[in-house]
Amino acid sequence: MQPINEMKLEFLSKSSNEAFARVAAAAFASQLDPTIEELADIKTAVSEAVTNAIIHGYENKPGIIKMICRLYERSIEIEISDEGKGIEDIEQAMQPLYTSKPDMERSGMGFTVMESFMDKVEVRSKPGEGTTVTLYKAFGALDKPMTGN
């Protein structure tokens, strides 16, 4: 499927860019007229992926993070990649509460939050080469369950 629009950003692995990246992704997604809820989901998931790239991928050393956003008719695909350390065991890294950095008060909930807020999360990684996280979300597609408030 061909995207109807696409954008690509490259930025330094600085923590001040976490807010920049999530706001940029949400601003681009807003072309599809998503709900405020859906935009908040995107912001949260992007923030988690970019934070992982900074803390785990580059281990707080300088590096470049790439973010590609592709818009389809009613959905978005966001690819966030680093050329950092990579993940040895992806399955383990995605386990709720698993963290390789408990001393830094990391909660180990990053991937779980991404999976909870997006429709699909894919992780590709090679130790020593880097990691790419792809987030997918469809807008207003399904009948959303009522939350009761």
Partner: protein, 114 residues
Amino acid sequence: MEIRFANRGSTLIASLTGELDHHFSEYARNKLERELFKATTRNVIFDLTGLSFMDSSGIGVLVGRYANIQKLGGKAAIICRNEKIKRILEISGVLKLMPLYEELDHAIKALLIA
């Protein structure tokens, strides 16, 4: 992000405003920690109603502080009305450690009784 503090007896109310992500987590941790170790503090209420954004970095900050509050024999509670933040608190298990309230008065009452 900003944190303001108020006291109600031995209960410290920490009101967080703005966005709590990894970038601000160290600032939040240090600021909360300094206040927590004051002798007047026993219980702590984290008022998150002013937060417009929080991701899992915020969980690390809250759980880390909770551990210290507990060591000092205190209790903690959270006030939050933002559905997204509530979901993160819920899936990460934070609500098993600290009860969630929508109103400050309810949280204060609950900490007094408990």
